[in-house]
Symmetry: C2
Subunit: 517 residues, 2 copies
């Protein structure tokens, strides 16, 4: 796309057509400026098939807010909408609506609170709550879902990979296989969720991190094509980057050529007073090759050089590699823990596309409309009770038990303060028979999770830095029970509602059902 | 991101760090302006688990070229690179290299040929071939892969969905669940591969198509919350859009509320002289509900209104729905073919993320370097022979048999013309024992697939319009055997190499192997 087209495609028209046709209907009925509340939440953790997440890491908020503040209906957008025609040949949008849209078509009237980025989050909990004029809050839907679903999906995958890799250095490598420009958002989310660095230069610059990388097979190939050798290529690399020498050893033959050549170059570097960084393995049986590489490097006097693994890695592959090293290391005379501590991971495709579950099914649901002087809860009843959202204005609390572990998230009505309840009754959101009663002495504290972000379009929140977001993440993951963090078959974390919210939901479901009969 | 950051993250720094460190190494060795050739190709069709593609639809070329022509190393980019430091604290990039990059850091010297967008393409066939100065051609890699992999992935999925839906109206709905801004490229690719329209407003505008859509559940909910009914909501919609009236009928209860209410509104419209468009089903058993909806609409005198299906659709779900309608339609007194011909499909998440296989593993491989007066083929030998790319400059041919069906793609050396061969011998690219000999009378014609796109950065190609790309697609799909088009377990299409290319490959593999021992 050229620049003009990019402004169109990534501006306020980055939405679905039906948002605009509904907005016009609201305008026609005089409802377009009626205050409405929409909740953003997801219903299920990512399910990758053989494995499944037990928690998510919230991400995407700051970029969403930046986008909301940078767009509005421009003259060009209005002209385009004016040109849209119906089957009859008449315009889709009428002049009065377009005039209103040109004057009022921005997100400067939206008030919003949200759970901060980096926090552990769970299904059916509102992660962001939007209040504003019905028509504009409706038009906003597509972009909210687009910004928040993807980053939360990738931050979650990255947290799992970090967990599985036992906190070893973890680099995001996905730009070449991700979904077009979306990879920049994906890299940011990976850095929030668990990656230490990314190879993506531009986004590193924007986020203030150094980009990371080594060299590719093509460098060795180029030397070979010109009649030189792999060793020549490694030597040249070491000459140019003596203090950053990390060599990719699988272009010809990892064990017979790559590692012996790397060791020769490392010895030269050592003589010159440099500390070689390590090698990268990008094909073959990475567990077996790690063990063989470690033996060869140890024998040559390089017990500390890194071994960077890449090639279709994800949390399961890494877990499998580590398990195999734990089993086979000792037989090979290696301390497996020591080997595991010198590994690093370059993770591309399977992280940036969340392979196995390539989308988060987050939704943006109307939960309340402003009546004459109060909020009227709204509800959508579906075939299944479990899909029915929790209606109305709500507060979100995290309940910490005596061990200071997070034991449940609790949704209450807006004007309830569960900190003052004598007994905390945690109801399952759709099954009346399931509840848990906690005496207050079984609880360390109840933490409100939402912060104010926008007041009528003005930012009232200090966005944390990437570093601060990562601290939030670490502390939240620390407070999870290990069962919830399991890579496979995680324990189910409880998301509950208060008695009052339960009653409200039942009343609404009944009143809507009556209409259907 | 703000505008300044977007320019950085989506400009020429939209690449991996190692491309830049390798470029500096080539500069240091005086190799940076040596002409090099890189081939872009993929190795496997998308494999979605239970099903697998038998062909791909090529897409992404025009946007890649637009990007290449719009970026260069700007002063700001150079300043950023100057600030990068090594472990030692010294700069990563030296002044002489940065000066060269500032002067010469663009894609204005790249010559490229490629297979046009919309064409059916197969594994191990170069889809785009880049020749240019080694350093810049290397830096280009990441963006080439990013632009071409994703669009080809999605165009392929869209072609499968169109095939499975028997060519019925097919709308792309994925903006809310796709990967950040990547959804714009995804929508374009879907429109190339098989979708008729998209709900995405901005990209429709850019591509000159009308965006499509109806209304959401939230509209009905808003009416309910304000004390009105689903029928009121439908009536309001019909008032505003009398000639575009397509109603979403599953907010309360599809069969008991939604469809009866829709029929009531359709009757009013009919009286006023309008033709109602149809209904949309977004939950439940879509095959069962389609049959029931058709019965109710037929009985009410609306046998032609559309039934639009949505909700986690993909080629398998659609195939399953159609199969169920064929089985159960007659029992319900319906002509299944007639019902199938009134269906339309709104496909979101599973298309825009290519659920099941969320990335195309396309690669960009160095295949030749310019020597003193000739191209020297380059090769990477991997653990498996089948992963070894076909070296050197090549031509790509499509072989059509007597029925004018495409029977194989053939790679030849640059200076070979297989049209002049007496006997066409098609060799398997890695297994000598597999080959097929065709007399020329068994062949209708050999079609060269590549076109010239860039000559030293200048566009020498007329990019076809979306409409033209779709004609190319239809004609190529038409020329495939039906076995290759099967949604599940497709027949394997042959990609072959000539005898000369086979010999060249073996010689190169041998010469590289010698180095490894």
């Amino acid at each position: 796309m050229n620049k003009v087209d990019t402004k169109t495609a990534e501006g306020i028209l980055f939405t679905d057509q039906y948002q605009l046709t509904m907005a016009q209907l609201y305008y026609r009925m005089g409802l377009h400026e009626k205050p409405a509340q929409f909740d953003y939440f997801f219903r299920h953790y990512p399910d990758y098939g053989a494995h499944k997440a037990g928690y998510c890491i919230n991400a995407g908020l700051e970029w969403l807010i930046n986008w909301m503040r940078s767009v509005r209906f421009r003259k060009e957008d209005i002209e385009y909408l004016r040109g849209q025609t119906r089957r009859s040949g008449e315009p889709v949008f009428d002049q009065d609506f377009l005039t209103w849209l040109e004057e009022t078509g921005h997100y400067g009237d939206i008030t919003m609170n949200a759970i901060p980025e980096g926090r552990v989050v769970h299904p059916n909990v509102p992660l962001a709550v939007f209040q504003g004029p019905l028509a504009m809050a409706q038009i906003l839907e597509t972009s909210v879902l687009n910004h928040l679903n993807y980053q939360t999906l990738i931050a979650t995958k990255a947290a799992r990979i970090r967990e599985s890799g036992r906190g070893q250095l973890f680099l995001e490598f996905g730009a070449r296989r991700g979904h077009d420009k979306g990879v920049n958002a994906g890299a940011r989310a990976a850095l929030i969720g668990g990656a230490d660095f990314t190879s993506n230069v531009g986004i590193s610059h924007v986020l203030g991190l150094p980009p990371k990388g080594t060299h590719a097979h093509s460098m060795v190939q180029a030397f070979l094509a010109l009649g030189m050798s792999e060793l020549d290529a490694f030597k040249a690399y070491a000459d140019v980057y003596p203090d950053e020498c990390l060599l990719l050893v699988d272009t010809i033959d990892t064990l017979k050529s790559g590692i012996p050549n790397a060791i020769e170059v490392f010895e030269d570097l050592k003589k010159k007073g440099y500390k070689p960084v390590g090698i990268r393995l990008d094909s073959g049986d990475l567990a077996y090759l790690s063990i063989q590489a470690a033996k060869m490097l140890n024998a040559a006097g390089f017990p500390d050089t890194s071994i960077v693994l890449s090639n279709e890695l994800d949390e399961l592959n890494i877990w499998q590699i580590i398990t195999q090293i734990e089993e086979e290391g000792p037989r090979n005379g290696l301390d497996p823990d020591k080997l595991i501590r010198r590994l690093a991971y370059g993770v591309g495709t399977r992280l940036i596309t969340s392979a196995g579950d390539s989308s988060l099914g987050g939704v943006y649901k109307l939960v309340a409309l402003w009546g004459d002087n109060t909020w009227i809860p709204a509800i959508k009843i579906s075939e299944s009770t479990s899909k029915t959202p929790n209606p109305g204005n709500k507060k979100v609390w995290r309940v910490y038990d005596k061990r200071k572990k997070a034991t449940a998230d609790l949704l209450s009505a807006e004007d309830e303060d569960p900190r003052k309840f004598e007994k905390l009754v945690l109801h399952h959101p759709s099954d009346r028979s399931i509840f848990r009663a906690l005496d207050q002495e079984m609880v360390t504290f109840l933490e409100p999770l939402m912060v104010d972000v926008l007041k009528e379009g003005k930012v009232v929140y200090n966005f944390p830095s990437l570093e601060e977001i990562r601290e939030i993440r670490d502390s939240d993951i620390e407070s999870l029970d290990s069962g919830v963090k399991r890579v496979m078959n995680p324990h189910v974390y409880h998301v509950s509602i208060t008695e009052r919210l339960w009653q409200l939901k039942q009343e609404l479901i009944e009143s809507v059902r009556e209409q259907g009969h």
